[in-house]
């Protein structure tokens, strides 16, 4: 057979498309998916169910759940899974800022063991020494990575970690008896860095970037005052630009008595390279489902491991995990007698199985491996950055000619002006080649943005394939712009007619509403 020449651009790709009905349409009355253990005979004879249930609470409304046999349930949801482009089946570069990296399968096996899944959170500490040891040690490693003095794993996502940090700030100033109502952040930090402190009653002050993309120092200087409770920032920000003067920022806040809170949801470029404490931060958090490889699970379960300096430990939510002199681990509810403690952020002890996976990931790398992760993540990004910038239609604002950390926010503004093809169009067309592509949080401060983050887990060939595909699609925008504008063509469905989604008279938020609107 002769060699078959094939391109690294997946022109023949088509995503699985099953045209699957909504699950209610699959119901066939009488079918059973699973049987429940029967009530024991003696017990049933002892009681009349009608005596156990008050009349006014007994269900009379028919429960119209689907009735489906087991294989049909499995088939339906398997098909929906196939219609989802998880990281396991694609080159994850296109979800910038999300740090979607390879999640090792062995770590999933640890989490699926009954020594993890079948633990009740209120079991006596003596019976959960294994998971407590894991969490205790992971806390210690987080301290080593950040320079902080104590971590809590209660916050179960990045945004909840930001809310937890805002709560710690609130506790701190309540304790000091100071009324401070302002929190400063930047436009390129995550929207939750503004939204979560706002929930806690703080007024949000934004610092705009200067011409280099750094938060404007002069503007910052005039914003910081005795009213400043805290400074919430990501560094690098979404642009991948690292604020070289960060220490001057934190010092300024400290001079005025405020606290500095570091959004390290994505710390993928910084492990073993630089530490939160050394830059003057009082607290920080790591998303274990980002930097520490635990899978995103469509959006959780997750963990925003939150660490603080010694001074702030007493405000942490309870309990923390500690070790006794005899070597046993325990949940410590008595580490603080401060009446200003945050109390509790999330039920029980956070998402322990995520901590287990993150621990296993750290142990598969060691200190040197963590350093390798960050160096390669930054290498991959700068390799990609250079290749992207070699194209005249792609640009990236700020610090020309300088390196970025782990991600870059590009712009194709000039390209859009030339072709009329927008970043949204390119996004949909990239799907036809099996690739994600993310523009930016809202509003778009960088016009026609693309945010890409290769992490350490794609190969050089993967990165090349992503860039080649993107350039191929951009070229299509010149030659056949309609094809790009009407994309996707090989994804699961065609372009949505979106009007109904914002129309309260017509939106369909459940099958019940759909049936009602259509008299089904």
């Amino acid at each position: 057979m002769k060699k078959i020449n094939r391109s690294n651009i997946l022109e023949n790709f088509h995503q699985a498309k099953w045209d699957e009905p909504v699950v209610f349409e699959l119901s066939q009355p009488g079918e059973r998916g699973i049987l429940v253990p029967e009530v024991d005979k003696n017990i049933k004879e002892m009681f009349d169910i009608n005596d156990l249930l008050p009349d006014n609470l007994k269900r009379k409304t028919p429960l119209e759940l689907p009735e489906m046999s087991q294989s049909r349930v499995l088939r339906h949801f398997m098909r929906l899974s196939q219609e989802t482009l998880g990281a396991d089946v694609n080159i994850e570069i296109g979800q910038g800022t999300c740090t979607v990296k390879y999640s090792p399968k062995i770590n999933e096996m640890f989490a699926r063991n009954e020594n993890m899944t079948e633990l009740h959170p209120l079991q006596d500490d003596e019976t959960v020494q294994g998971i407590l040891e894991i969490m205790y040690k992971l806390d210690y490693y987080m301290r080593e990575i950040s320079g902080m003095e104590q971590f809590t794993f209660q916050p179960s996502g990045g945004s909840q970690a930001i809310m937890a940090m805002a709560s710690l700030v609130e506790s701190y100033f309540n304790d000091k008896g100071e009324e401070r109502d302002e929190i400063i952040t930047t436009i390129y930090s995550h929207p939750s860095d503004a939204a979560a402190p706002a929930l806690k009653g703080y007024k949000i002050i934004y610092i705009q970037p200067d011409e280099n993309g750094y938060p404007d120092y002069e503007a910052f200087k005039s914003a910081v005052s005795e009213k400043t409770a805290a400074f919430f920032i990501a560094n690098p920000e979404d642009t991948g630009v690292y604020n070289t003067r960060v220490k001057e920022f934190t010092e300024l806040v400290h001079e005025k008595g405020g606290l500095c809170c570091y959004d390290q949801a994505n710390a993928n470029g910084l492990l073993g390279v630089t530490r939160a404490k050394d830059a003057g931060f009082d607290m920080c958090f790591f998303n274990l489902h980002k930097t520490f490889s635990t899978p995103h699970g469509c959006g959780g379960p997750a963990t925003g491991a939150t660490g603080v300096t010694k001074e702030l430990i007493k405000y942490l939510p309870k309990p923390i995990i500690d070790k006794k002199e005899d070597g046993t681990y325990y949940l410590d509810y008595d580490f603080s007698d401060s009446k200003y403690s945050v109390g509790k952020i999330r039920s029980f002890n956070g998402v322990a199985q995520v901590a287990l996976k993150a621990y296993a990931w750290v142990m598969s790398l060691g200190a040197e491996g963590l350093y390798e992760v960050s160096k390669v993540a930054v290498l991959n990004n700068n390799y990609m950055f250079k290749k992207m910038m070699d194209n005249k239609w792609i640009d990236a604002p700020y610090i020309k000619g300088k390196q970025r950390i782990e991600q870059v926010r590009y712009t194709i503004e000039k390209y859009t002006e030339e072709t009329g093809v927008t970043t949204g169009d390119i996004q949909r067309r990239m799907m036809d080649f099996g690739l994600h592509y993310w523009a930016s949080h809202h509003p778009y401060y960088v016009p026609e943005p693309i945010t890409l983050e290769p992490t350490e887990t794609p190969s050089r060939a993967d990165i090349d394939q992503y860039i080649d595909t993107l350039l191929y699609v951009m070229n299509e925008g010149f030659e056949n712009p309609e094809k790009v504008k009407t994309a996707p063509h090989s994804s699961v469905c065609h372009q949505l007619i979106e009007d109904v989604l914002d129309d309260s008279e017509n939106w369909i938020l459940s099958w019940k509403i759909y049936k009602k609107q259509n008299n089904l």
Partner: protein, 471 residues
Amino acid sequence: MEKRGFKNHPYIPNSDLKIQNEMLKEIGLSSLEELHELIPEELIFKGKMDIPDAYKSEFELKKHIEKIMKRNENCNDNLNFLGAGCWQHYVPAICDEIVNRGEFLTAYGGESYNDFGRFQVFFEYQSLVAELVNMEVVNVPTMDWPQAAATSIRMAYRMTNRKKVLISEVISEEKFEIIRNYCSPHIEIVKVKFDEKSGLIDLNDLKNNIDENVAAFYFENPTYLGHLETQTDEISKIVHDNKSELIVGVDPSSLGILESPTEYGADIICGDLQPLGVHMNYGGGQAGFMATRNEEKYVMEFPSRLFGMAPTVKEGEYGFGDVAYDRTSFGHHREHGKEYVGTQTALWGIAAGVYLTIMGPKGMKELGEKIIYNSNFAKAELNKIEGVNTSLMNNMSFKEIVVTYENTDMTVKEINKKLRKHNIFGGKDLTNEFPMLGKSAMFSFTEVHSEENIIELKNALNKVLNESGEA
């Protein structure tokens, strides 16, 4: 200079030195140390992190982790009666199969085209829970029940522009703490008393506390202590006469046999999805849900994403997308959106969707019946033990029962420690949480328990309490 890093690591393709050098050359550098040029020298970490050397092979890593995790004693090898918000239910194999599908497990923020299955499965999850609670709108899962309750309360606060919220005092202490923190500093929370004889809400105390500043009343049914609150119509009337919102927390595993709070006037329903196909995971299985009617004033107050159906340009094709996205802090309004949005517990929504599908209406009914039979059987049997009283409160119970120890010098903790020698995890200690109940513990019974298990518990408890010399 010593070469740093971990070369040829299986998770890091470009940790191969040859490739690394080629890539470095491409960007005009000669070593990895030349990266991170923007970080000032004074901030470069020059120490060595005290983190052990890697377990280099997957095999060694597996041995290491398994050795540690074997130090746990799990609820399959022991007889567990702990509940209190996290319950041991049977998780159908298909739930595990689906949530462990790599496509779902590793998906995140793709669009509704290439993450189509994720969008449809959440629409279905919303629809299935909506059916269970007989509401029309359900959000994607939030952190846990306390978070769902806290957000429900904040929704009511925004809708009514009133700053006080009443909460039944039959609530878990930690749930109250989470709500308190989340609602601070805007909302004043006042607890409404319950009747210690019946376990029911003290309607007089509710009436005395409700006024024009009250945004909402929150109570749970079944309650935290397992009682069924029967004065639902009276409560609903008191709350609605005051133009306040009625928020009811509910255990979804009860809804095959119990009427949804919608039927007695709940405006917002919340609860935990963990009973619906999610393993306990030492508390990592919690996931909150909220449900309302399809009224704009409610829908526009949800902070989290809501998935809706939409047509596509192709006739006969279903599409799914974000409903009223600009409500959220991901929209253009950022901190002026509703609360904040971010990663929560999406995967458990998929588990709950699969669970409700596989159970169907009959399965949910049988589940509820098995639980209510078991809990009442246990209540009757344990009451026969000398020194044990399970009828301190005379109301009907679902899943949880309060066991009061009389005439013993042992603490609940000591009793539980002795029960462990019988491979039993005894009930949650209520001594500090509900001091008015005396020396009490809360035992939980679900469909995983058999008559034999309950008798085993009874015999063990009897030995622990009444046989001297019992270790």
